[in-house]
Symmetry: C2
Subunit: 216 residues, 2 copies
Amino acid sequence: MGKRIRHIPHAVIKRLTRYLTEVQQLRKEGVEWIASHELATALGLTGSTVRQDLTYLDFSGIAKRGYATEGLQQALEAVLGADTEWRAVIVGAGNLGRALTLHEDFRRRGFAICGIFDADPAKVGKRVGALVVQPMSELPASVGRKKVDIGILAVPDAAAQSVADQLIASGVRGLLNLTLVHVVAPPRVQVVASRIAASLLELAHGIKAAARAAAG
Amino acid sequence: MGKRIRHIPHAVIKRLTRYLTEVQQLRKEGVEWIASHELATALGLTGSTVRQDLTYLDFSGIAKRGYATEGLQQALEAVLGADTEWRAVIVGAGNLGRALTLHEDFRRRGFAICGIFDADPAKVGKRVGALVVQPMSELPASVGRKKVDIGILAVPDAAAQSVADQLIASGVRGLLNLTLVHVVAPPRVQVVASRIAASLLELAHGIKAAARAAAG
DNA sequence: TAGATTGTTAATCGATTAACAATC
DNA sequence: TAGATTGTTAATCGATTAACAATC
């Protein structure tokens, strides 16, 4: 069954997703072994950080050889849940919601988008790839019947909390929040935010700071 | 001219973007004063963290009243560069790239998408809102002429570094990386990553961990 | 074996929280 | 004024890095 799973700090979880991307790529290239300092160089980290992070996995490296990419990939997938099929629905059939529904990458990585919903009657009934936009009234039954794990919030900021509440009441266990606002959920429901507009602001600050530094 | 700008830790910058979203909302609602503990409650933080964070701004609160929302908003916008017009191009005219080009929210927040590029000749020439997809060969001239600050990577993982290199060579000062892979850039070019698929994996891990905790 | 790399411990660094004097 | 809230200092907490014995 492997070793008992310790609680993993969030900073480590974020890096584990990056190790997984890298090791998947390495395996495609036929690389069978990788050393901590090679992974570190590829991802802009230190070897020490990499070794420390990988101790959270039910997997060990071998002195002088490094980490077997096959076992490392399996261990990363197991701890991140990338070895499981997840079912998600998207709420919001605007540009972003439709684009994510059509994004094949998610399905390939184990996240099946099995429904798209919108409160706007003008959008309900429209096709989005293989799906049809459903009204919010169908959300609870659909989430329950299809055993949906994850709700993706691709709605305007003002609707975010209300839609989150509906998704939570429908029984999802996790929310991916793509809006800019903070969303409150009970402890049994995980929330992860991915705010592209906020990232642009981080970038804007970074550019200004770099310009200041260059100017002296 | 205000106080000299200290270096701001990245964890603080991320929260500053959230304070800005919140204070913009508060001002729309006509709220003129906000206390640190109110801001903290709204965003799931502690009052101490909020007060500590706001010391990085060229702005002060007033004991017993809190922070004036107008001044707070201005100070946040100044430090984050949200008071500036930024020009960005998107590379990758797939679902995600097209959706972001059409996303009015960015323009409203000061980020104008002024070009969309793709290496696929089949996509070049297609309309995306007010823009037309351009070939990669036009990237350097376009970035130079339009004084583009930011390049947005919405390409397949395998193309990410090569496209980043082209954007850097064209003269952008920042990259928003929407791919899963690590992108290397010289220090003068800022890179911020916003990985939706990685966020889904974080969520998947969180859901599994919560289920384990509930099971005991 | 000799040398390289892991896994782990200890040291450092940074970020968050607590506490409270200053102040409005 | 009395009480509430800021700004700041000190304490705590957590994450990263350095160092090195274990080991392949």
